[in-house]
Symmetry: C2
Subunit: 209 residues, 2 copies
């Protein structure tokens, strides 16, 4: 039991968001496909710090999935648009790394999709606030994580709903003509820088609202 | 005499660039005027770390003007476009903080403008490479600084001419529809992160090519 719980205070996690972005703020290119979830933005470059240099970034990688529930945009779950293809079960295989309920924002209804390891994808058609409320209820005392992509994080930032934003800035300028880009449509907005950790392959920047 | 000079090696400074930007990468808005050098982007917010919190950022502030010569874009020197108004002598008063030659990129000829304290503005009409070559020659053993704005730094980055890029990221999302924005038109480009220093009002990020 946490000290807050022992003190009888209300115990509730915060809302976090993690995203790996290029120096020019891109989280993905717009030409997404089943083979290329990040489109023409080189995913290996964007995520080398998580996979090739996992030991150097163990704390940050663990924090990304340390939540009691997740919210993600539809484009993070699938390259498809319009009605669902029921055969599509996400990019993560049968045991996704979330191990918790994941609320997927969509305009198209779909039954919940239970996976191995405790992950269940729930498809939410009634908007950002509803998805966050459902995630909060599911998370209990734990944090809720906005899992991405950039446009979903931007929407929650603009709504003032994110307590802690964790940017993982890869030292690469993508130079895309279009794509999913952090902070598009968000400002003006003040944040508070609370932590910075540089590594040779990524710079971790943590902000609070 | 430096150890390099004592060893008989060629002694030449590097090319640096400093710029204060918002979280979404803006160095200035596009509606620049004599009264508002950064247009509708709030300059006090962009530069509070330099003025209101100068003690916390003394090393970074000093480094900005620690060069033997400077290059700047025309828009950093004046809000004017087209032919010169000879009465305009920059935004810095009669004793600008550069104390060295400053090469201003322009399409319109103008005689050199000597100021107090060792600053002379030279107006260069034959392009980026010429301005940089003139600055290198003037700087001697010292560094050449690309003083800004973002579009001038972007042009030199794209040309591979900047050795050390020092971003001073203010924790504020500007949300501008247009403006002078870091990395526009630069990528794809890899950089090497070499230093990071967080403060409550700005995050200093240093990259090398």
């Amino acid at each position: 039991m946490s000290s807050r719980a022992r003190a009888g205070l209300q115990v509730m996690g915060i809302v976090t968001a993690d995203i790996a972005i290029t120096l020019d703020g891109f989280g993905a290119a717009s030409d997404q496909s089943r083979e290329h979830p990040f489109g023409s933005l080189d995913a290996s470059r964007l995520h080398a710090w998580m996979f090739e240099h996992a030991d150097d970034n163990a704390a940050e990688v663990a924090a990304i999935v340390d939540a009691g529930a997740f919210v993600m945009g539809r484009n993070m779950f699938t390259p498809g648009r319009g009605e669902w293809d029921p055969a599509w079960r996400g990019w993560w295989g049968e045991d996704p790394p979330y191990h918790a309920p994941v609320f997927v924002l969509t305009h198209h209804e779909r039954d919940p999709l239970p996976m191995a390891g405790g992950t269940t994808f729930h498809f939410v058609t009634d908007g950002l606030a509803s998805a966050l409320a459902q995630a909060r209820a599911a998370a209990g005392e734990r944090d809720v994580a906005i899992a991405g992509g950039a446009s979903t994080i931007n929407a929650y930032l603009a709504a003032g709903a994110i307590d802690e934003l964790r940017l993982h800035v890869v030292p690469y300028v993508a130079g895309l003509a279009s794509g999913s880009r952090m902070f598009d449509g968000v400002g003006p907005l003040d944040l508070e820088p609370v932590a910075t950790r540089p590594t040779p392959y990524v710079t971790h920047l943590t902000y609070r609202r």
